[in-house]
Symmetry: C2
Subunit: 261 residues, 2 copies
């Protein structure tokens, strides 16, 4: 848990602390944080004070525990609306969900990790906030690999450094070399698979969302289970997914550059 990218100054360190609390995922005591943190008592203490007074953390005085503050929810509302693909991708995802009847994911890259920003569930109603915001590994998910296959060399290198290459299943690509080979294949065919690499029984086809300039904006995937379908059957949907991805890319482009020069 401990060592983070405390490269940029005081602010970076404070945000590290924020991440530490987030990582715990439950109310944490000062002591627990201290044990995991690289900072000395007084320093950590001051950070917690500042963050709490700023509403980024919340402290339960009775129990002496800290949790993330509601100010984050407010900020994220704006973040989600303004710099995630979710709002503008919505109609296209709806359509894709309708057509395929499968579970759909929309993801973006966040510091080498896959961040899910929207989802359409096959059966049950969507549970938005609790699925949007979830993170997953990049090296062993369909959306992750789809994005990695198209990012710049510099970004790829940075991202690879952040992968754990933990072997979740027998199919997990557990070395950078294996992953790089896979990425080459993905570029050739234009879509990525998840062959039960993250969770047994879960398979998917994923397509990156790439801007005209070649920047990777995100990825869309159609997910299913080996119990319900086969990879080949899923691949038959690839064209449809590509179409969706392309349309989202166009939409994003015209949103981000409203007035043409």
């Amino acid at each position: 848990m401990g060592s983070e990218s405390n490269s940029d100054g005081t602010v970076g360190k404070a945000l590290d602390v924020l991440d530490m609390v987030a990582l715990a995922g439950r109310p944490v005591r000062f002591g627990e944080l201290l044990a995991h943190s690289a900072y000395p008592k007084a320093t950590l203490y001051r950070f917690l004070q500042t963050l709490t007074s700023q509403g980024m953390l919340q402290m339960d005085a009775d129990r002496g525990t800290y949790t993330l503050g509601v100010r984050l929810v407010r900020l994220a509302h704006v973040a989600w609306a303004q710099s995630s693909l979710a709002p503008l991708a919505r109609p296209y995802l709806d359509e894709l969900a309708q057509e395929t009847g499968q579970t759909i994911h929309l993801a973006q890259m966040d510091q080498g990790q896959v961040l899910y920003v929207d989802k359409r569930n096959a059966a049950r109603p969507v549970d938005m906030f609790s699925s949007a915001g979830k993170v997953g590994p990049a090296y062993c998910t369909g959306v992750g690999k789809a994005m990695l296959a198209y990012v710049s060399d510099a970004r790829l290198a940075a991202a690879l450094d952040r992968q754990s290459f933990h072997r979740f299943t027998v199919n997990t690509l557990d070395t950078p070399a294996k992953l790089r080979a896979e990425l080459r294949l993905i570029r050739e065919r234009g879509h990525a698979f998840d062959r039960e690499e993250h969770e047994p029984g879960i398979i998917c086809v994923a397509v990156p969302i790439v801007s005209r300039a070649g920047r990777v904006l995100g990825a869309v995937s159609v997910t299913s289970t080996t119990a319900l379908t086969t990879l080949d059957a899923l691949e038959a949907q690839a064209g449809r997914v590509k179409d969706t991805a392309a349309r989202i890319a166009v939409e994003a482009e015209s949103w981000r550059f409203p007035e043409q020069d």
Copy 2:
């Protein structure tokens, strides 16, 4: 826009900048931010650099604009799950929505403002991230007044300082004195109304969620329009709303204090 609570050091100032970008609600240029900010060029510039490198902001290099970063979405996911009432209130809200067939809001207090953390819409499917995270004024909404009526004097004073008392409609309580009188009435009857004080035609009954120790945790409301119903008819629901609020309070209590003493 400009002057914020830059009380606590560098971190506070950096978060101010974050808020400035959030407040704009759209991609902003460096210059725009500079114009609104209290900080000199170089200082602001460095903050933007830091926040961007931290993933709290995102910068579109081509356009030279900044937006909130996706890291916030990740953090908010945890924040929402761990320190909002939404996850544990969910079943109760569902039930209330079912019973009343009306629009339901669940809100909490964030620095003197009302923060909506969940919602059930009468007709159309819920649009979670885009409704959760929304903020509104405390002095002229049902949930806001319900919460203010039960907070400690110190918190009330702090909150009142942060109210604009803008006169949205003819019914808006536009002075602290009027509001204080209203809060007294709310305490007497145990529930608050919104008599078209924020938006014409919109009325609601709201009930605070109060812990056994007397701490205000949030508020629930049932909303409708003057076209569809009357305040009296809505008041008939008050008992039901109180019941829901009470059950959420109990649930919250057993969540936050799992082991009884």
